[in-house]
């Protein structure tokens, strides 16, 4: 009964989405207020019914209803309750349902939060979001229905993929989807502006906080994914340039360009058509990411190649949405005025260069990711593109980007004098360079040009971000206190500063981890020890350990430094009862300055086990930095300016 209810709710949501996309759009064209107001009601209703559908599926999982095919394929009575709930989005059908739920959630938020917007704008925006909803709900119903029953019902479920039984995976997909889908708002605003032909800075002021929040979700989602890969895959790495990772990283890069370009368009009324194009591009890349992951054209291990209908559907949908909006762009964008003028040396130019570098970086990843596909389609011999390609093209693009990142916040709009800028920043530049040379040598007694450049870049990002706030304090008149002038700094500026500081910390983490990591993959006899990076790892013993839905062999590894005990690590090799795949559960001693990471391999001979031991300096800084970027994004999106414009109409 419950699954049928869910299916029914899904169909009602589809009907509401159709109403949401047709009526308000028609109303906006004919200036009919009644029709336009349907948008808000339909958007709220659509969200409600998708929520019901989602809860019905979640109930079927909690209830172990194995007559539902999707539940039978991805759950088990032995599965702990929290993983039974996260199993709702553990595979294709359920993740799609989560996708449309997130989409309608954003639509609902727009409907509620946009009282101050002109009726025709909000009507068009909600209509565009409704169209996207139609596409994805239809996709779910036609090719990937999570509520399909099977007869006879299974006696027991086939269990959730053990790789996905990890706390990181409970929240990673929802965050990522919220980010992907969140850009549908900026996309809808851009399309609405193209349809109406009115593109002013007001449009941008509305769109900006939404893009910022979506960017925050995407940042958190990618960070959690990287954190999960580090903990769960057992290879001690934090980024693998895997097609699925790239699919989420490409929209992030362009979204980063977008939130900067939106700032220019809002403040200076320039880059208008570029901002529109970026809004379209970010959401297109989110859709492309969905296509790449869901169609199996690249990753055949998780492939749905057995069902090409899904790939064909998403590609057709992609063609309609992306092709349609780019055509609309080609047709309408030429009408936009060029906006404020600026000199070659100006803040505008720096932000433009930042945008270009980010988009080029995205293109290199797109080419690297799709290269095997291009070759295959052209009938050329296959070859795959690995991390060396990405490192080789990515680092040279990032260095100038980070240099600009330091200049941008300090530079003035319209025109700057180079000598003045140099005069202001020469001190910080010197600090960054000295840091780059001294820091690696002081800590590790070693450095290379690339390492020093990297650390200098991180120091530069950090120092200039602090200076961007500090110079306002230094300029205060003598009568105001430091505290008072700190409280007067706009929150958006704090947001920028925190995000850039986060970037600096992230870079420190990346550079130190890649330059000074150490590792050993070695066979160890029980009772003997291995030395790595000044630590001694003693394999004390290996014994069986019983989990709720798996059996494991668990090793005890005593870690000491100069005979001082540090920690006992207990890595496991698990075999899950139902799916029988062996899983490596690494054990990690996390620290601010280094992680010690042990993964248990195969038994080599009686009493002798393969161990993978990693020393990862500063690796936590990668995620700390990324989280600071997200916090910066939240600060930026909640600036007084946007709250004021929302309140004005209330």
């Amino acid at each position: 009964m419950i699954p049928e209810l869910g299916q029914f709710a899904l169909i009602i949501a589809l009907c509401l989405a159709i109403a949401q996309s047709v009526l308000p759009m028609w109303g906006a064209q004919t200036n009919n207020l009644n029709l336009m107001s349907v948008g808000r009601t339909a958007a709220s209703g659509q969200f409600l019914f998708l929520l019901i559908a989602f809860l019905c599926l979640a109930y079927s999982f909690v209830d172990n209803d194995f007559s539902v095919q999707y539940v039978a394929n991805n759950s088990n009575t032995l599965l702990p309750i929290y993983y039974r709930i996260s199993a709702v989005w553990g595979a294709h059908e359920g993740s799609l349902l989560l996708w449309v739920l997130a989409l309608s959630g954003w639509g609902f938020a727009v409907a509620v939060k946009s009282r101050s917007l002109p009726d025709d704008v909000i009507a068009r925006v909600l209509a565009v979001m409704g169209m996207i909803s139609i596409g994805f709900i239809l996709f779910t119903l036609l090719t990937s229905n999570p509520f399909d029953r099977m007869f006879p019902a299974a006696a027991e479920g086939r269990d959730l993929n053990p790789l996905l039984q990890d706390p990181g995976l409970v929240i990673h997909p929802p965050m990522l989807y919220m980010g992907y889908v969140g850009f549908s708002v900026a996309f809808a605003f851009a399309i609405a502006a193209l349809i109406s032909g009115k593109l002013d800075s007001a449009w941008v002021r509305w769109s900006r906080p939404w893009a910022n929040i979506a960017w925050v979700f995407l940042t958190i989602g990618i960070t959690l994914g990287s954190w999960w890969a580090y903990h769960e895959l057992g290879w001690g790495g934090w980024w693998f340039w895997d097609p699925v990772e790239n699919a989420s990283f490409m929209p992030w890069l362009v979204a980063t360009a977008l939130i900067h370009s939106l700032a220019v368009t809002e403040k200076r009324a320039t880059f208008k058509s570029w901002t529109v194009l970026l809004s379209i591009l970010v959401f297109s890349l989110s859709l492309l990411g969905t296509f790449l992951v869901r169609s199996g054209v690249l990753v055949s291990v998780h492939s749905f190649a057995s069902d090409p209908a899904r790939g064909v559907y998403i590609l057709a949908f992609l063609a309609v949405v992306v092709g349609g909006s780019l055509t609309l762009y080609a047709w309408r964008s030429v009408q936009f005025s060029t906006g404020g003028r600026f000199e070659v040396m100006s803040k505008e130019t720096m932000l433009l260069l930042n945008n270009v570098l980010l988009v080029v970086a995205m293109l290199t990843i797109l080419i690297g990711t799709l290269y095997p596909l291009f070759l295959d389609a052209l009938g050329l011999p296959k070859l795959s593109v690995g991390p060396p390609y990405f490192s080789a093209v990515f680092v040279p693009l990032m260095l100038p980007l980070i240099f600009l990142m330091g200049l941008g916040p300090i530079a003035k709009w319209r025109r700057i004098s180079i000598s003045e800028l140099f005069h202001k920043l020469k001190f910080l530049l010197a600090i960054a360079v000295i840091l780059g040379v001294i820091l690696p040598i002081a800590i590790y007694r070693d450095t290379t040009i690339m390492t020093s450049l990297g650390i200098a870049a991180g120091g530069w990002a950090f120092a200039t971000a602090v200076y961007a706030v500090a110079r306002l304090i230094m300029k205060r008149d003598k009568t105001t206190s430091v505290f008072k002038s700190l409280s007067k700094v706009p929150r958006a500026l704090y947001g920028m500063s925190v995000a850039h500081i986060g970037m600096g910390i992230f870079i420190f983490g990346v550079v130190f981890t890649s330059a000074f990591s150490d590792q050993k993959e070695i066979a160890v006899k029980v009772g003997t020890s291995v030395d790595l990076a000044g630590y001694s790892f003693l394999l004390r013993g290996v014994g069986p350990n019983q989990g709720p839905n798996y059996q494991a062999m668990r090793a005890q590894v005593d870690v000491t430094q100069d005979n001082v005990p540090i920690v006992t690590l207990e890595p496991e090799k698990r075999v899950y009862t139902v799916q029988r795949n062996p899983m490596t559960e690494a054990s990690i001693d996390e620290g601010l300055f280094r992680d010690l990471y042990v993964a248990l391999g195969e038994p080599v001979s009686p009493g002798e086990w393969g161990l993978r031991i990693y020393y990862r300096p500063f690796v936590q800084w990668i995620w700390i930095g990324a989280m600071l970027m997200a916090i910066g994004g939240i600060l930026g999106a909640t600036d007084k300016r946007y709250r004021a414009s929302a309140n004005r109409a209330a």
Partner: protein, 180 residues
């Protein structure tokens, strides 16, 4: 004007590639050896170092050559499937790859031996001639010793039914006519 069309034009090209890509299987790495004879080799057998095995020993209506090793977890997963095939009378030859002779023999004693016999390729030199990426891999060869099919990864009953059985039926339907 022209500038505004560029994004749409680029997208059309991209969509075209994605369309073609949908009908390709990314896991297929076509082996250049398909349609060619098994590489010539001489190795000692796994169980008896004094005895040799060469490509001539594969003579049968058809045979499987399975690349395996005790360090290979996926080989453990497919082991039962291979034992079942052997029980049905499918001749399977093993190529024990970069392994330790004692532990390999031990494994076959404990878990069962699906192989007619196994060649012992300690250095992995012969596996290079076979174009082996990693273990497990399974080759299908016909009566003339021509490689007809190659599977990278774990053998399962479904893969056997879908990929191997049709090929073997084809071989049976067209018995050696091209040579007589």
């Amino acid at each position: 004007m022209l500038r505004a069309i560029i994004p749409a034009a680029l997208f059309i090209v991209l969509a075209g590639f994605l369309w073609i890509g949908l009908y390709k299987d990314p896991s297929l790495v076509p082996s250049p050896l398909i349609g060619k004879p098994v590489p010539e080799f001489t190795l000692s057998t796994l169980k008896d170092p004094t005895k040799n095995i060469t490509q001539a020993d594969f003579a049968a209506d058809y045979a499987l050559i399975n690349v395996w090793a005790t360090w290979c977890v996926a080989c453990k997963q497919e082991h039962q499937a291979l034992l079942n095939l052997a029980a049905q009378g499918v001749p399977i030859f093993g190529l024990n790859y970069k392994d330790d002779r004692q532990s390999a023999i031990q494994w076959l004693l404990e878990d069962g031996d699906p192989y007619v016999m196994s060649a012992f390729d300690e250095s992995g030199r012969v596996a290079i001639d076979f174009g082996v990426y990693g273990a497990p891999e399974t080759f299908l060869i016909d009566r003339q010793g021509i490689i007809q099919h190659k599977l990278i990864g774990v053998m399962t009953p479904v893969i056997w039914q879908n990929q191997f059985v049709p090929k073997i039926n084809q071989l049976a339907a067209a018995p050696t006519q091209s040579y007589e």
